[in-house]
Amino acid sequence: MGRYIGRRLLLSLVTLWLLATIVFIIANVLPNDIGRTILGPFAPQESVDALNEKLGTNRPILVQYVDSMFGIVTLDFGDSYITSQPVLPQLVDAIGRSSKLAGLALLITIPLAIVAGLFAARRRDRPADRAIVLLGVTSSSIPEFVTGTILVVVVGVHFHLLPVLATPPPGADVPTQIRYLLMPATAMAIVYFGYIARMTRAGTIDVLQSDYARTATMKGLTTSQMMRHHVLRNALIPTVAVIAVQIGYLFGGIIAVEKIFNYNGMGQTMLFAAQRKDIPMLTAGAIVIGIVYMLATLGADLIIAWMNPRIRLDAER
């Protein structure tokens, strides 16, 4: 197990370096005159030159690359072009807020989706299964911004049931925070429900068809006993993988939701930075999200290895 973790970690570091390079390349396709882009077409040239000098954006591209890679190693992602403050604390705040939102979305969706998936698998090809599959396909097909807007109008504006802005007042207690986050989290949860439910269903069906499940049935175990003892563990493996992958996706899909609910999380921060060409913020954001994603997949791999020793042994061989 130790060697397995070590190998996975090492690979993750390589991936991280590549990721940072990709982001750097994308960001530097930009027109060279960062100062002009930030200050806009109406600013006097002197201010633009001064800003470029201050930001160091008039240096050769390789120098900037080495500088930025070195910065990542020392956890120094630079200062925001817009606020002149270090980007990391701002990002940490934003990630914290987004995690609350994403966490609540997952909390709503995971139990529901797993139960629905297991239920569908046990009634394979019967109306209940068909309905759940259809519901899954449908729910994962509707973009978050569509469900989000509909929720705002119906729940927020028409019935006044929940606040239409997701940001809770400062110092709010946990129930209040949940109340504020409930609508955006629901908009996100609906999309993930489909994926997770379908993955659970597929995993369960695979296991139910496997030889050892048949043996277990022949040994006279009831379906529910078998589900508990054998199926659940193995069937959840693909589900765990999907949830891990979804964590990366959560941060992409969150942009539209945060825009609608004016919630200052990662999505809004990134959208804001993109609109204002705040390159350090964008690069740092993409890298931080990459790290979160890799940690999530790493965690998922470890859980899978723990659930299914065969995979672990495979990897160590």
């Binding site: 109406f42 606020t83 701002q90 934003a94 606040p163 802005l165 825009k259 609109q275």
Partner: protein, 569 residues
Amino acid sequence: MDYPKLDKIRGTTTPLQLDVVESFARGRLSRREFIQRGAIVGLSMASISAVIAACSSSTPGASGAAPTTGASSGASAAPPVAGGTIRVAAQRPSGPLDPILMQDLGSYGTTAMVFEFLCTSDPSQPLVALAPGLATKWTPNDTGNVWTFDLRQGVKWQDGTDFSSADVVATMERLVTSGNSGLKGVLAAGGAVATDANTVTFNLVTANGNFPYLVSVFNAQTLITPVAFTTGTTLDQKPNGTGAWKLTKYNQASGATFARNDAWWGTSTPLDTVEWIYFDATGPMVTAYQGGQVDVIIQFDILSGKSLLDDPNFNSVALQAALHRQIWMRTDKGQFVDKRVRQALALTFDRPALIQTLFQGKADLGNDHVIAPVYPYFDPSVPQRAQNIDMAKQLLSDAGATGLSATLHCGQILEIPDLATLLKSQAEQAGINLTVAVESLDTFYGAQWCPAAPADPPCSGSAELGIVDYGHRATPDVYLNSALSTKGVWNASQYSSAAYDAAFKEFQTSVGVDAQKTACGKIETILNDDVPIGVPYFYNFLSGSSKQFTGFYSSGLGQAFFATASKVA
């Protein structure tokens, strides 16, 4: 007319001021215009009211028109309730809160809560008229190239030190050094001199009848900062202003909190706290208001805020403004070189329909020139161009341009893509085939409107037809100079007319109201005939608050004033 009283005032005024007083006394200026012009040339409020009183027996046409809905309505209402917090939806600052280098409405608004200007905006016409701020009085010399500002006495910085002329001079030096675009060519280094602790004299490079505008709310960087301040210092680093509010918390991601400054020089301020919440777009502001999470929206656009206009609990304020769109047509090459083709396109505009569809009627008709009806020197005598498809067709066939086909470029902002869609369909009626090309603002400005290259003359790489947005200015100088004069920096139509340039020069150098109005009449006539730009409308500036609050007003440049704002009993 109370002549003895009027004569007494006449005796104490400078020639510039006298000209304004005379214009009013003879009925050439409405009361509203008089207050506005009077304040610019430095007539004190006392003198202005004295003149109005003296002339009140006979002031034909002096309507004293108030803004469309009551910005000032709060003042007359029930006595203010003391205490409370007002929550304000504002645009997010897009950069550091550096009063000298800031470039966006979000920063303008936030900094102006704490710092103040020499001249502030007049609550009765907050978009075009000046009122005393840190200066109580300003007077030009006879030629208008030396202005003397009397400073308010007993003003203290929030750290307790005294405000004095040294602060003003230091601020002006910083502005000039950093190349403030408004003061460029008007005030040079060393131009501002402290005569004594409470007087500053400005020796200008050239005469300028509108100089007070350049050290007012309408030149947003001219906030007076302490003598020890430096360029690059931000408000949140050194929150030490003279204003009615103290910054207690600032976070660009969420908002700013201000507490009442009890040592402020003005009248006592009812509210305890003003809380600014930042937004990146109007849509969420409106949602937030509807959801009861903000009380005031400093500025909103009709596209996303239409619902506010019908909201019975929202007090929306629509102020006449110079906000407009220019549909530029290249006059030097391409299909629009012939004046008749440009006139034909302008004749296809169904202006009233555009105003109705895009602004719910909250706009003034444009007449293909930039002198907005809100300006006191607007000359209404130039005939209004209306839709005339037959004449457009005739002009096109005269010019041999039947079957004209062109691309209409525009940026992705506010109603402009919708305007382009409507213009395309209106032009089609006269057989003009327009293709609408909408691009992101950056691309549009950089590739279609005023590409950086070729640089001489500026904008010579612009597209042959496009729509560009212009914000509100308290005076039309920028529009006239940058967009229309020969080699102007934003002259996308490459318009070059000796007659126009002469008329513009006449406007700039004329200091009397009559003279300015005459010059504007010429400008309007020339532009209306040449049509280098089509201007279909000047739309209203919209802001507003929940009816639970009263007494707030906004300048049109992001700044909002809460000193007299209070909760309704």
